[in-house]
Symmetry: C2
Subunit: 314 residues, 2 copies
């Protein structure tokens, strides 16, 4: 749906090279610029809330451009009657998530009761891309290696577990986190062609977009893709494919083969990258599509899903 | 209400110098950065719609920092079932309003039916402040002259006329417009201490904020403040004070007395500034407050209004 709106409405109307790049953020000279609105439901969930998510989401979009964040903005749309106590908790989570990056400018609007859902938050961010860093979703080349920084599908299942009242042996928390230090570590050791955080639409949708932008094929090894056992179990119960479930603290890196080991070691040296793995490769065949070699040896096409598998996940 | 949230929630939590500046946008080195969410109701009104308003609003916030816009972002929160035809109209208005400034990055979220009101739009913008330009809401000095670029209160009354079904002899259109060229003309001829666009809360609230930030008094001459006759009439019928009604294509400039004539002439040389006027002065007395000399000679305090006079005006 979002892809359709982008292809049929926003890109045709706003036609410009920056939007065509289809990156997590736009690159303008040595600046990176990104925006994201957050409508997650429920507002509070294990390991975070809409506030921390809104900060991590936009900071990560900047990190995926290889940028160091300069400042964030925050725009709040509050539903009339929203609890000040909840707002204060959300705002404090934003403060904690942002660390020493300033929330430099903001805005608040109030809408009538029933015309919102508590609070919606937009964050936008600007960052500076260090000289020489060029991360471009259309630059993957056959032979490149696909890395993921950790176990996938955790955020989506954490949200869903609250919505559906699922019980786990331990509380399943979102993976929402800022990937800046992990990305820095990788960029210091390796040449990186593509970085993306597989949020809405999950790993599958993000890799599909890269395959299309770069006009290459991507082959994944199902057995190599890290998924927590409880998350996998929940996916099975709910009939969800973890490849399509949202992440909020994971990144994909596509690197030349000679840099793969260094990049993987750099990820694993970071707390957020302990479970990083090599999950596939870029190929010249089947350009524009992603294929998965399953555990039992078969191969299937990983298609772009139409419609949102999980609405309001971020 | 917004001021209360800012003072009691956002500023204490996000404490940083950029936010303390209380400007329309934040200044970060030679960059200006601003954000605004738009929830105007109705979405379409004479002379514009939520899309053109969202573009002008953020571009003007950059202009009020003296910045030349580099790029905008656009974040849409769509209510499920919102008409694609309406969205297309809104997006085309944004394209027309933005001219050759790129909408460089964007985001779309969909919320359930009944959890939105058609569409809410956030725009954020980045711009570059030319070397030597310092516009600072805390820099007004006694003796300075207060200029306004044209007739006030038109936007608010245009919106209200649709909501309330008021009839005018001619259709009353919003004044929503981009002030960049007008600001450029003023900055080329004059030293300018403060620039602000008096949107939500109108002229009175904006001047009140300047009086507080600069710790000066401001005296206005009621007879000098330009208001269209039909807008004045509508305000009387509705029991509204035009000083508190929103504008979306007007700016206030505070300039040293020796630059006042040049600045006024520069405004009047621009299509948007034909009705520009000198409306008051900055004084050392009654620091932190705004007083109005009325047509009949009396003087009254122009207080900050508690609560929103007109909700969802932008």
């Amino acid at each position: 749906m979002t892809q359709m709106l982008l292809d049929k409405v926003f890109r045709p109307a706003f036609r410009n090279d920056l939007l065509e790049a289809q990156h997590d953020g736009a690159r303008i000279g040595d600046l990176a610029f990104s925006t994201d609105s957050f409508v997650v439901h429920p507002l509070f969930f294990p390991g975070g809330n809409i506030g921390s998510l809104a900060v991590h989401g936009t900071l990560n979009d900047l990190a995926m451009c290889g940028a160091k964040p300069l400042a964030l903005s925050a725009g709040f749309i509050l539903e009339e009657g929203f609890s000040m106590e909840s707002l204060w908790k959300i705002v404090c989570s934003m403060r904690d998530a942002v660390g020493d990056i300033p929330i430099a400018t903001g805005d608040t609007k109030v809408v009538d009761r029933g015309k919102g859902d508590g609070v919606y938050i937009n964050t936008s961010g600007i960052g500076v891309v260090p000289h020489g860093v060029v991360i471009d979703p259309s630059s993957a080349e056959p032979g490149d290696v696909v890395l993921v920084s950790g176990e996938i599908a955790t955020h989506g299942i954490a949200i869903l577990s609250v919505r559906e009242g699922l019980e786990f042996e331990t509380v399943l928390e979102t993976d929402s986190a800022w990937l800046g230090p992990l990305v820095d570590a990788v960029l210091q050791t390796s040449h990186v062609r593509v970085l993306r955080d597989p949020t809405r639409g999950g790993l599958a949708s993000t890799l599909h977009e890269i395959a299309v932008s770069s006009q290459v094929g991507i082959r994944l090894e199902e057995a190599a893709i890290p998924v927590r056992a409880d998350v996998r179990g929940a996916c099975e119960i709910l009939g969800l494919d973890p490849l399509y479930v949202a992440n909020e603290g994971k990144c994909l890196a596509i690197v030349p083969p000679e840099d793969a080991e260094h990049a993987l070691a750099a990820m694993r040296s970071q707390p957020l990258g302990r479970d990083a793995a090599r999950i596939g490769e870029v190929v010249a065949d089947h350009a524009g599509s992603v294929r998965l070699k399953s555990r039992i040896g078969g191969e299937r096409i990983v298609d772009l899903m139409s419609g949102e598998q999980l609405p309001r996940i971020c």
